[in-house]
Chain length 103, copies 2
């Protein structure tokens, strides 16, 4: 199993329309990726590690797939629709990481 993590930085003053993201963007992503997407989780940053420290990421999304190939095959045909929707809820640029689940 692999995870695709989409990490939106918690930039001071940056807008992030959580309502649009949860009710429009992510359901659209789920529909486009179809059965290849085995799991979908969204977390909203509330704090950093130290006392009073801000969260590094405003939002983290984690999508599970059987393999990198399965992710790429599901994502490529819809990349434009999915990435093109980002400006509708934020002007920040997410960091994307692909990971292998180990535990």
């Amino acid at each position: 199993m692999i995870k695709v993590s989409v990490l939106y930085p918690n930039t001071a003053g940056a807008k992030f329309d959580m309502d649009y993201y949860l009710t429009k963007h992510m359901p659209m992503v789920k529909q486009k990726l179809g059965a290849a997407c085995k799991s979908m989780a969204v977390e909203e940053g509330i704090a950093g590690g130290g006392p009073g420290a801000p969260a590094t990421y405003a939002v983290m999304a984690h999508l599970g797939f059987d393999s990198v190939d399965a992710f790429q095959a599901a994502f490529a045909p819809h990349a434009q629709a999915i990435l093109g929707d980002i400006p509708n809820y934020t002007h920040t640029q997410p960091t994307i990481q692909i990971s292998k689940t180990r535990m």
Copy 2:
């Protein structure tokens, strides 16, 4: 539900002893945190978002708790044992983030 994410940077040349981490560190953390820790996931970074880009994080761990209070109550008595074990598997400094699950 909240998630505590521990993000180890993928620093060039940095050591990360995955075997120690998976077989010694995380089982110790699980035992110390006890029933307050509702879930535990570990992911190993394999790629970044662009072609040939490295993963931002070598390892990401995500621990689930009912609330921030529940996490702090479980973690505080064992902070020294848990944090003191980090140099046994890496010399990098993890970024820590607390998030609220939204989906």
